[in-house]
């Protein structure tokens, strides 16, 4: 989409006229090791407000590890993380959720025994304030809050066109729909940064098209900043504004889809590694 140069840290306007703002997330010289394995090696990049930022690379490149660093599952040994311009100290994942970062997982992580509706309701947790006692006794405030949040969840269900499976336990849903419910749960948090780990993995062409459309609509209608990992180069070229390319834990490219595609190191990495 965007043909803009990637270098402008203070924002730009995309080819389709969306305004991209200042940095939401800045990763500076991040290094993450697991014992002897260096999953991420000295990587820096930023995610700007309102953009769709993709992270691509072969299997084992360290893409999921990067998302896990952003949402606090992993803590890097080196480097700084700036969120909305401020350095972030090491936080627990649930605290980071309260800061407005929501995510989906490469291997779907839904609450399988719960219905679609309940799953998406858990996404509202960071917006619900009533205490345990008033919930236990169902005092006015808790009930009102429950109803208000339920309305927002119903809107998300409409948006994702999953009305018919509202009351279905998600464990029974086909894979593609589970992925969509998981997106719904993340959206329910009204995140200021949305992380998607391979949202289209394992989908057929039609499902991929649906998911691409939802991602673009979320970004367009709510202005949500999105960082996504994707294997399918074609999809990335279609929907991403800027792309970070990783290989063996290193960053080998960063720029618009067009720039990245013509980058020799990227071409080598993709040709040199066999794919599944």
């Amino acid at each position: 989409m965007s043909m803009q140069s990637a270098q402008s840290a203070q924002g730009y306007v995309t080819a389709d006229g969306r305004k991209i703002g200042g940095p939401v997330m800045e990763m500076e010289n991040i290094t993450l090791r697991f014992g002897g394995v260096t999953a991420i090696q000295d990587i820096s990049f930023d995610i700007l407000e309102g953009e769709i930022r993709a992270i691509i690379g072969p299997n084992g490149a360290g893409k999921s590890s990067m998302l896990n660093v952003i949402n606090g599952f992993y803590h890097p040994q080196e480097g700084r993380i700036l969120y909305h311009g401020e350095e972030r100290k090491p936080l627990k994942p649930y605290q980071i959720a309260y800061q407005g970062i929501a995510r989906t997982f490469q291997n779907i992580a839904l609450f399988k025994g719960m219905t679609t509706l309940d799953n998406i309701m858990t996404g509202r947790l960071t917006h619900m304030k009533t205490n345990l006692l008033s919930q236990a006794l169902w005092w006015g405030r808790a009930e009102k809050e429950e109803v208000e949040n339920r309305e927002i969840v119903e809107k998300i269900i409409d948006f994702l066109e999953i009305q018919t499976i509202r009351k279905t336990p998600v464990g029974r849903l086909p894979y593609g729909l589970q992925k969509r419910v998981e997106l719904g749960r993340a959206l329910a948090a009204e995140p200021s940064l949305l992380l998607l780990d391979e949202p289209m993995a394992g989908m057929n062409v039609e499902e991929k098209e649906d998911m691409s459309r939802f991602i673009l609509d979320v970004n367009d209608e709510f202005g949500t900043t999105i960082a996504l990992i994707e294997h399918d180069m074609g999809v990335v070229m279609d929907i991403a504004d800027r792309v970070v390319v990783m290989d063996y834990g290193k960053k080998i490219g960063d720029g618009t889809p067009a720039e990245v595609r013509s980058n020799q190191a990227v071409i080598d990495a993709y040709l040199g590694v066999s794919h599944d």
């Binding site: 599952f73 947790l125 429950e146």
Partner: protein
């Protein structure tokens, strides 16, 4: 209908009421197991400890009085007041909540990501610690627990059912305490189900039971949930402790009711709340009816002691996930 039939019905009803109590104890196990994968060996001791604490508050006992007297040569025993049952129950509940918080703070927090067997061992340690601690705090003598629920056969039910079954039948003999216990336990179970279905914390509890990572990612603090779960399990233990304590006195054997929960869990599955409830009812009714129909007339009686375990064994062999537990699929 012959009188025999109505005696059978009476046995069935008594079994149902015993079953509700088994369900209650099993429920405490399931709550903790679902949320944290811990089989809490200390559940029975928690019921004993809760009951001891309740009696202690009611009677105005001075905690640790033996210890204090031994060290300082004093003769302290009682504060000299009696607390009404309602306030004593509230106070005991507060103690169980503090207990839950301490368990998380002092034990669970340090054992995150450990193997289930390690966590299980920790709860064994906890059980022995609480047993000694309870003794030290409240003394080891057998105590009477009375929160004002009448005990003994219910005349009203007996009188009004006597017309059934002809001259040989004198009406259903049901203990009033059992009837109360059944209704209280049922109310507790219903309240728990509503809480877990329709409140945000209830949803968070179910979420943690399903997937820890996903739960964290939506902003659920596992540690807060563990405190809540242990507090609820403490509450359930308190109710079970009150009912069993009122029936047969508060003493160490009360903690053995946990052993009756094991077959219930084998039957109902370790992860299913409806399973714990229905499993408890089946065991309760099953052991009473078996004794009535087969045990007493054919096997010389006393089958109630082993019937439940035999059922559990059959289930272990033929359906290890229980009636309602999720199917165990070995990943290869």
């Amino acid at each position: 209908m012959p009188a025999e039939f109505y005696y059978g019905v009476e046995v069935f009803l008594n079994g149902l009421m015993a079953g509700v109590m088994y369900s209650l104890v099993a429920l405490g196990f399931v709550l903790i197991f679902k949320a944290s994968g811990i089989f809490n060996y200390a559940q029975g001791i928690m019921a004993l400890f809760a009951a001891l604490t309740l009696v202690g508050f009611q009677e105005g006992q001075i905690p640790f009085s033996h210890l204090i007297n031994a060290i300082f040569g004093t003769e302290l025993h009682h504060f000299g007041w009696h607390m009404p049952a309602f306030f004593a129950i509230l106070a005991a509940l507060v103690i169980m909540i503090i207990f839950a918080w301490l368990v998380e703070k002092l034990i669970l927090q340090h054992l995150v990501n450990q193997e289930p067997i390690i966590l299980f061992m920790a709860t064994i340690g906890l059980a022995y610690f609480m047993e000694g601690f309870g003794d030290l705090m409240w003394g080891s003598n057998v105590k009477k627990l009375d929160i004002g629920i009448p005990q003994g056969g219910n005349f009203w039910i007996e009188e009004s059912t006597a017309f059934l079954g002809g001259p040989d039948f004198y009406g259903f003999y049901l203990d009033t305490l059992d009837i109360y216990a059944t209704f209280i336990a049922a109310a507790l179970v219903i309240a728990l189900v509503i809480f877990s279905q329709y409140t945000k914390t209830g949803r968070a509890l179910r979420a943690v039971a399903d997937d820890h990572q996903a739960a964290l990612s939506v902003g659920i603090s596992l540690r807060a949930i563990w405190v809540i779960v242990w507090a609820i399990a403490g509450f359930v233990a308190l109710v079970a402790g009150i009912m069993w304590g009122a029936k047969s006195g508060v003493q160490f054997s009360l903690s053995l009711i946990a052993l009756k929960a094991l077959p219930v869990l084998m039957l109902g599955g370790f992860t299913s709340i409806p399973g714990a409830i229905i499993g408890g009812l089946i065991i309760g009714v099953g052991e009473k009816m078996f004794e009535f129909l087969i045990g007493a007339p054919l096997l010389g009686g006393a089958t109630e002691n082993w019937f439940a375990y035999m059922v559990a064994l059959v289930f272990l062999v033929f359906r290890p996930q229980g009636l309602f537990g999720e199917k165990i699929i070995e990943r290869v």
